[in-house]
Amino acid sequence: MSRMPLPLDRHIKPKLVGYDPTRPRPGVERLAYTLFFGSLWALVVVAYGLVPALFRSQGWLDGALGFFFYAVIEALLAFGIAAVVALILIVVLRKYLGKVQERVGPMHYGPAGVLQTVFDALKLLGKEDFAPANVDPLIFRLAPAITFVSAFLMLVAVPVAGGWVMADLNVGLLFIVAASTLGAYGVVLGGLAQGGKWGMLGAFRAGAQLVSYEVPLALALLAVGVYSGSLRLSDIVEHQQGLWHVVPMFIPFLVYLVASIAELKSTPFDLPEAESELIGGFNTEYSGMSFAFFFLAEFVELFLLPALVVVLFFGGWHGPLFGLDPASFAAQALQSFYFLVKTAVWVWIFMWIRATLPRFRDDQLMDLAWKGLLPLALFGLILAAFLRMFVEVV
């Protein structure tokens, strides 16, 4: 009567498919991260350097049609950079959290798990994009797009090397603030449109948090603008030629650091999602690609906010050029390399903070923003003005 299969039939080791997860492969991992970094750098060089150089050298930019094609190609490349950054950062973050937490992180897709995100993306694409009964369909679908686009917009204004910037806006700082504020709309609308209570609570928290952190963030940016005398990001980087802004602008730097973590909605300020409290908050009801867009936006921001730290306070692309002419292509490529390395360091610090700290409470967060950071940011602004006067006088 026994229907229980005998052990012999099941004690077979599953066949290994091309890789062995039991074997740690630091070499492969290191190579993969080098490749990740290299491909990102290559993409940046193509998007910021080669394509504009090509269009300029051929004189295609003068015609309307040529400019149109240039814009389309550049937009696609920018999207590509955003997507690549997100794909890389997802696996890097998971690997880093794994390392920190004494486990291995993703291990099964690709050697040492480096292709994990690709399969994640495929899985999310193949997943049903389910919408619950009482959602507002239009806004429900629009919200992730708004969030993603806002993250993506910020990328446009970031200069990666001398003269290498997609849109060299003379109001770059204001554009950054505007674009990041737009992201809050996506979160708030997405939370409200899904018709669930957790989503609504998440939306409320997101609204309160993002609005309150925009102010110190904007003031910190403004301080940098005042000190460097320009709102154009390239000018700000140029201004740090001798001394990085982190030294004179230390207070705005601190304010910006805290505010940008809050902007990122990562621990300790991940209140809008707060898995253990709100079961995901604003993205509780999202699945499939809609969720993927929120997710991608988060990781694009995880690249952009550290990138802005570098641009505003850590000298942007500045680094030893070994006698190269700063206007030459090679120098610019080297500069973009410096920029990416500095950004990588700051991304690591952001991830480190994320791995360590518990979450703040909503009212403490407001307290910190309005009572702590705002006065500090104002002080920083005044300090920046004084320093500016001092610099100009001297």
């Binding site: 012999l8 099941r10 599953p14 360590t356």
Partner: protein
């Protein structure tokens, strides 16, 4: 200035936490990849139950029904008949329903002849819950394949390569400590 001190204290504490986290990066991961790496299961561990046969292939079980009575979830069903050759009983049926088994090893505890034992087999998951019903042939087969098993009466026993069964050395035995200590004193 106390405010500054407070802020400094907070920053220092956060830094300590972050250092504590980062210190772990260098340590090797503890992840086990199950199908490829299997844990070592001590023989005492109640992973699975088996019926042990003597070296000559006869049942150790004497059909005393002690395990059937001791089982809290009443998953053991025993049918026996009088031994035509001699005294005692012969086992006819021994069914163990692993669906409701709580792995308490009470049956192993009460067995007077160490016929039902705990073995370290743990890969017995199946897809259908109705398949978790074991009979005597199955439990015997598990017992025949077991290399090491435990029962309170005989302790940990091992099967030698030539098929003979003998008691494991004291290092493997629960209660082997007394023996080891006595050996040390003797030496």
């Amino acid at each position: 200035m106390s405010l500054l001190a407070e802020v400094w204290e907070a920053v220092r504490a956060i830094g300590q936490g972050m250092a504590a986290v980062n210190r772990r990066v260098g340590e090797s991961a503890v992840t086990e990849f199950y199908p490829y790496q299997k844990p070592e299961i001590p023989p005492v561990s109640v992973q699975f139950l088996a019926l042990i046969q003597n070296e000559d292939g006869s049942d150790r079980c004497v059909s005393c029904l002690a395990c059937e009575r001791a089982c809290p979830s009443q998953v053991i069903t025993i049918e026996r008949k009088r031994n035509p050759a001699g005294k005692g009983f012969v086992l006819e049926r021994f069914d163990l329903d692993f669906v409701n088994c709580m792995h308490c090893a009470n049956c192993v505890e009460v067995c007077p002849v160490s016929a039902i034992v705990t073995v370290g087999d743990f890969e017995h998951a199946v897809y259908d819950v109705n398949m978790l019903k074991a009979d005597k042939a199955f439990l015997d087969e598990i017992g025949r394949r077991a290399q090491v098993w435990y029962s309170p009466k005989f302790g940990v026993e091992i099967r030698k390569p030539d098929g003979s069964i003998e008691k494991a050395p004291p290092e493997m035995q629960p209660g082997g400590l007394a023996e080891l200590l006595a050996g040390e004193e003797g030496a």
